[in-house]
């Protein structure tokens, strides 16, 4: 029975709910811009980890470790390049 119960999915679901409430609190309590964005960024990072470990089980299959983490690294690279590259070309580049 222990193997059958999807404990990680349930935990992931609970974490997601908590994170959503925290994100909503930022709006409800009317925080300063810096505090709000800091909280949101930390939440986003935790949410990404929840997604990868709780729902997608990235650490489950040991034989695929290398390709899984290479893909994540590649995704991070492309994501960061897109975000900071866009800021660089569209805003900072004019300074």
């Amino acid at each position: 029975m222990k193997q059958l119960f999807p404990i990680r999915h349930v935990m992931g679901y609970v974490f997601s709910l908590i994170l959503s409430v925290v994100a909503l609190a930022v709006i409800v309590w009317d925080m300063s811009f810096t505090t709000a964005i800091t909280i949101l960024l930390i939440c986003a990072a935790i949410q990404a980890a929840v997604q990868l470990f709780m729902f997608m089980h990235i650490d489950e299959d040991k034989s695929n470790k290398a390709s899984n983490y290479t893909n994540i690294a590649y995704a991070l690279f492309v994501g960061l390049v897109t975000i900071f590259g866009t800021l660089f070309t569209m805003i900072w580049g004019y300074l």
């Binding site: 590259g85 070309t89 569209m90 580049g93 004019y94 300074l95």
Partner: protein
């Protein structure tokens, strides 16, 4: 909405097109009924999950789209043949160059490449099918419905007319109020989802389904190039998905992402478009490099020179391809820092590409070269592509680019890259792998005739455009006066384009001729090739390999032939195969109507078809389909038949 707004009116050529669409559709319906082929079509093609048949359907669609895009090109060249021509008006010309660009890149080059991937990859890695056969069928039908949706735009509603890049603010609702650019955002979105799923599917296939013993560094070069291409697809296409979605919100729901007022940023579209658009160039060109590597090594009778450096340079290209996008809009007006940065990265990407060129040259060096049709295309590719590459480095210099930007020089450059880099490759690949699919080669005499026509006329068409660009003729201008002096070179280019059209006509005729008269191949390895796809019968049985090969080296099939290195050691066992299914086709049809209603903002039917899509997905989640098994007896029978044994 009135009928004359729904259908495109007032243009005799469009009426002709409408009539021919109706007649051809009727002819197909009548023909299918008369020859009683409806059942065959449904069982063998529309419901298939077999990677080879899906590949053939991709390639057929690509050839049809090549015709459509080619007609667009000929119309443009006719309009530009002389000064002050009245063949097309400005609006019609805008629509034609827009659809030419989108169709050639997204509905011709991509499906042709993906078709060859489908046909070849599972065979090259010794697999029975792709990792997710049903998903593969969904990919195809989504691509197909997207392509059809885009193609009906020229008779219903009007085509997009803001260029294939659809730059804002021109493509905004304010300046392009017709549904044309809605076709752009929705049709590309649907086809893009299909491509994204193909990317996922082939990454998993290549990483998980290789035959025992085939380590990553023993994979054929085409498989390597497809793996890297699919990684780029998976990371680049989401950017397009998001950009198209934002465009849709802007045009249909009054959002202000790319508008000029209310905090919108029009150049952000160009930015996001090229964040996807530049990797897209490598998505169509890297598999082509893989095809050339296979062909050059086969017909030089040598293994590929610098296998490792080929792989490393492709990985380098895949990373660098995400770092160069701003070179498409140097003239936007950002500072020297931005332009300098992107100049350097753009020039850097020429290095790994140059490494590959030298690897091919060294593979040819001291090889016993056979001048077959696929080899001719590969040999022509090297010098022509190098011209494209060198002019690319010229364009990469930001300060010089202010002169070249959006002139015919640019048009000539990217045709010099994409036609040898992709079109030559897919034609060469089609000639090379055709006997594997159909059991006979395409006729060599006709093939070589088509090759010389295409290769020579390509240069006659596009070389003059470099000089026109340097003289100041801009891209996308629909007419010019005699005093500009653009006339003679434009006429030369138009003559070349007619020759190019004749070349493609010969190519199509050679396919027809070979189906009827070409002698059938009995060896299953007509080119004396090196990779695993040639180790099974031609045409390939549905299970690909009766026995899974055990790979012991790079080019294992070659060493099996020459050194008697063992390859098929296991006994024939029962084979587990996926079942055919009609759901992917139905899903494609629903997506077509969903997209159509969205484009015209007919919300009620759009919501209904949207719900239908969700229902289809839910049905699939609860379905249990464990596939079927082919018995040993049946396999033995098929094998005997394909070997030609008298049972």
């Amino acid at each position: 909405m009135k009928w004359d707004e729904f259908f495109v009116t007032g243009e005799p050529m469009i009426y002709g097109a409408m009539a021919s669409i109706v007649l051809v559709s009727l002819a197909i319906l009548v023909g299918l009924t008369y020859f009683k082929k409806w059942g065959y079509l449904w069982r063998e093609w529309l419901t298939t999950v077999d990677h080879k048949k899906i590949g053939i359907m991709y390639i057929l669609s690509a050839l049809v789209m090549l015709f459509r895009g080619g007609v667009d090109a000929l119309m443009m060249r006719t309009q530009l043949a002389g000064p002050d021509m009245k063949f097309l008006d400005a609006q019609h010309y805008n629509e034609v160059f827009t659809t030419h660009g989108i169709i050639m890149i997204l509905f011709m080059a991509m499906p042709f490449i993906i078709g060859l991937m489908n046909v070849v990859i599972p065979l090259q890695i010794g697999a029975r099918d792709v990792a997710f056969p049903r998903l593969n069928a969904v990919s195809f039908w989504l691509f197909f419905s997207g392509a059809m949706l885009f193609n009906i735009s020229f008779v219903i509603g009007g085509s997009p007319d803001a260029g294939w890049t659809a730059y804002f603010p021109l493509a905004s609702l304010e300046l392009s109020p017709t549904v044309g650019n809605n076709f752009y955002s929705i049709a590309l979105q649907i086809a893009g989802i299909g491509t994204l799923m193909t990317g996922v599917n082939f990454i998993v296939t290549i990483l998980k389904m290789r035959a025992p013993g085939m380590k990553l560094m023993r994979m054929p070069m085409f498989t390597w190039s497809v793996l890297i291409t699919c990684v780029i697809i998976v990371f680049a296409f989401p950017v397009l998905t998001v950009a198209l979605a934002l465009m849709m919100f802007d045009r249909m729901f009054g959002a202000q992402f790319f508008t000029m007022a209310n905090g919108g940023m029009d150049m952000l579209w160009a930015n996001l478009f090229w964040v996807w658009g530049h990797p897209e160039v490598y998505i169509v060109v890297l598999p082509a490099f893989g095809i050339y590597s296979e062909i050059i090594s086969t017909f030089s009778r040598k293994n590929l020179y610098g296998y490792k450096s080929m792989v490393i340079s492709m990985v380098a290209i895949s990373l660098l391809s995400f770092l160069v996008w701003a070179h498409h809009f140097y003239t936007m007006g950002h500072g020297a820092m931005v332009n300098g940065f992107f100049s350097v990265t753009t020039m850097a990407i020429a290095i790994p590409t140059g490494v590959k060129i030298f690897n091919w040259l060294f593979t040819l060096h001291k090889g016993r070269i056979q001048f077959t049709t696929p080899m001719l295309y590969s040999l022509a590719f090297i010098p022509i592509f190098t011209i494209g590459g060198v002019t690319g480095v010229m364009l990469a210099m930001a300060s010089a680019d202010y002169q070249y930007h959006n002139t015919m020089f640019l048009v000539a450059h990217f045709h010099y890259v994409l036609i040898p880099g992709t079109v030559f490759a897919v034609i060469a690949g089609m000639y090379y792998w055709f006997p594997k699919l159909f059991g006979f080669r395409l006729n060599e005499r006709l093939g070589k005739l088509a090759f010389w026509l295409i290769a020579i006329c390509f240069n006659v068409t596009f070389l003059p455009l470099f000089f026109l660009g340097l003289k100041g003729m801009t891209r996308r201008m629909y007419t010019y006066s005699a005093s500009t002096g653009f006339g003679p070179l434009n006429l030369l280019a138009t003559i070349g384009s007619i020759g190019l059209a004749i070349g493609f006509a010969v190519l199509v005729y050679s396919i027809y001729w070979s189906f009827r008269y070409e002698p059938r191949d009995t060896t299953s390895d007509p080119w004396d090739a090196r990779t695993l796809e040639w180790a099974t019968h031609s045409p390939v049985p549905e299970y690909n390999f009766a026995v899974t090969p055990n790979v012991k080296s790079l080019d294992a099939f070659w060493f099996w032939k020459k050194d008697k290195q063992p390859l098929f050691e296991d006994k024939i066992e029962e084979i587990h195969m996926p079942n055919n299914n009609g759901q992917p086709f139905v899903l494609g049809v629903i997506f077509f109507f969903f997209g159509f209603f969205m484009i015209f903002s007919w919300w009620t039917p759009a919501i209904i078809s949207g719900i239908a899509i969700v229902v289809m997905l839910a049905v699939r989640s609860f379905e249990r389909d464990h596939g079927r098994h082919i018995s040993v007896k049946e396999i033995n029978k098929t094998e005997q038949q394909l070997r030609g044994d008298k049972a």
